[in-house]
Symmetry: C2
Subunit: 437 residues, 2 copies
Amino acid sequence: MIAIKRLNSADADFATRLDALLAFEATQDEGIERTVADILADVRARGDAAVIEYTQRFDGLQASSMTALEIPQKALQEALHGLPVAQRQALEAAASRVRSYHQRQTLQSWQYEDDGAGTRGTMLGQKITPLDRVGLYVPGGKASYPSSVLMNAIPARVAGVGELIMVVPTPAGEQNPLVLAAAALVGVDRVFTIGGAQAVAALAYGTQTVPPVDKIVGPGNAYVAAAKRRVFGVVGIDMVAGPSEILVICDGHTDPDWVAMDLFSQAEHDELAQSLLLCPDAAYIERVAAALERLLPTMPRRQVIRAALENRGALIEVRDLDEACRIANRIAPEHLELSLEDAEAWVAKIDHAGAIFIGRYSSESLGDYCAGPNHVLPTSGSARFSSPLGVYDFQKRTSLIRVSQAASKTLGRIAATLAYGEGLPAHARSAEYRIES
Amino acid sequence: MIAIKRLNSADADFATRLDALLAFEATQDEGIERTVADILADVRARGDAAVIEYTQRFDGLQASSMTALEIPQKALQEALHGLPVAQRQALEAAASRVRSYHQRQTLQSWQYEDDGAGTRGTMLGQKITPLDRVGLYVPGGKASYPSSVLMNAIPARVAGVGELIMVVPTPAGEQNPLVLAAAALVGVDRVFTIGGAQAVAALAYGTQTVPPVDKIVGPGNAYVAAAKRRVFGVVGIDMVAGPSEILVICDGHTDPDWVAMDLFSQAEHDELAQSLLLCPDAAYIERVAAALERLLPTMPRRQVIRAALENRGALIEVRDLDEACRIANRIAPEHLELSLEDAEAWVAKIDHAGAIFIGRYSSESLGDYCAGPNHVLPTSGSARFSSPLGVYDFQKRTSLIRVSQAASKTLGRIAATLAYGEGLPAHARSAEYRIES
């Protein structure tokens, strides 16, 4: 028996139990923090030499120079051409669909003339520019995912980022050909086989060999996350992601095996992943529970799945679908499946979610790979205030202000009044000079 | 004599000296970090009682309940109606212009049908929603600025944020009527006279009286900045701002007094503010230097201005205006004035800046108050990767994915191939169930 939690929204302690279920806080380990601070300082001071030493120590590589830690473009192309045809075609199809979706996210510059009374000839606007250079962190080992390369690199490329630098640790020298192929496909400019806090430091500060970037994106372990937090400000970073989550709202008319497998697909990520079902039909919930039991033994990653379901999973009976939507907004899940009849009509009731999968055929796994939208999504309820990774994360805005001579008098009077009120007389005088001109 | 640095881009050590000039890193004080961690934990555990105690201790208020720490709407309205007419009109004119500019930033939802071969009937899109509730931190004491209330609250209101909660410490009970008037003008929902890490904690976690928010914006001292960094993830935060900066590029044909006063207007903020001039005309630089000397004694905040100019200011001779633009991109200044003939033609050469003030009449102080664009801008070179505060900071995106039955087969094959390649068989099976249907 899988000891997955059962909740009922009608129970008096439901809110408390739901809060407990959702509670997740990345613990900041003091040991990790100190180690990371030391590595960052050391790489900043000594550059390549420090990066090489840490890579020898942590990844067991015998490289004696940074040249040995860079994968040449030729090797990336060989990885792409060496893929089995089906994998290559799948990768290309996914990249093409992701690119097509993200092209619609591109921000455009705009400006307008302000022709109000006393401000004629004034232009205001917003200029959009891409970041110059971006660093892409790709984990090594078991969580080294080609799809993650596509999802992080393509929005940067669409944004017009000048240069893409990828880092991927290769413990004991083991390279993942699918990851290198994905890097070739999206046109990564340089790839270094380094990882951990030392790779984050190299990207943030630059070394003799690794050029400094303006932003670092991509998932990583606790050391990488701590390093990214620490270099934030020197460079931009993406969100530090928590465990993956899925919330399925089902009306009780989807094949229970489908829902069970969708819950498994999150749970197989790791033991802290969260799989939740909201359904108004108690009998259907039992059918899903039975499907979980029946299908679990067939899953290669059944130990991870069981642990995740028992740790943080739940089957939740609700009064009706309206209540399910309210609870979904409370949870603000990373992935939300609306496995419902006329599912699209329910989208309007969802205010907070990373991505909404609409209808029974829209399994979350399609979004992970090839539907088009990004699979880097806000976790741990942060969809209340943040967005999927997108082209907009690789573009920035500059305000444009061109004040005409006439307008400088009109606006100058307003500014001077407020500046004196704030006790900032140089601000006021600066405006007044233009009034007096 | 003001000991402001003189640099020349032709000097061999120019790049090194420029780097040294720009170097600024917010030191993370271990004592502050520990104090803040304790306050956050205490407010989280004890709520109102802890907030009241810290407010008594740090702000010298004798409040015995949170009710005494809330300013009723009536008092905000009275502050607005009590303002001198000129101040009220200036505040209203500024708010109106800021609102008008920001309305052009509103993001819109979009969706499209994907009618490719094998994916007919699929819909992809992006849904835009506002944040539910936002906290606005307003510093107390000398840096308590009504313009800051406008610049932080108006984009939130334009975005459609449901509820705006403002906190502003009132040490020894002293309230700033201009700040309260600004809060009334922009329609802040509730105002609490609390500050410091305890106010950040109250907003992030909620207390019996203070409702928890989804994002906290607004400037604050080192304790507030540390607290915001720590609650990031529980809630969203805006950038943690460094000292203010201005970079003026001048062709040598602007009244030197204007340029001097524009440099002063940043320098008067605080001793770490940075005022820089780039100019190809050595004789003109001397005229600006003379203007600085002559005008400094007339400035009420001359001590702060002198300290800032001597600490971090510089007058920099460059070869030509093209080089000036390249150096500006290296600096990525918060404020950039193009005090040039035909200034607009030079905007295309600027890739990295928070705001560009185009032409001699566009003094930076107009942008601080009433030009329209936001005055919360990326500092310390972070314009390389981030943007002014805007409506987009109070909206978020949700990806929409509706896959048709037909498309679930086409996309399912791609997803399954990649999922097996990544060693995630539950992902693959979830896609395959739809293929088999």
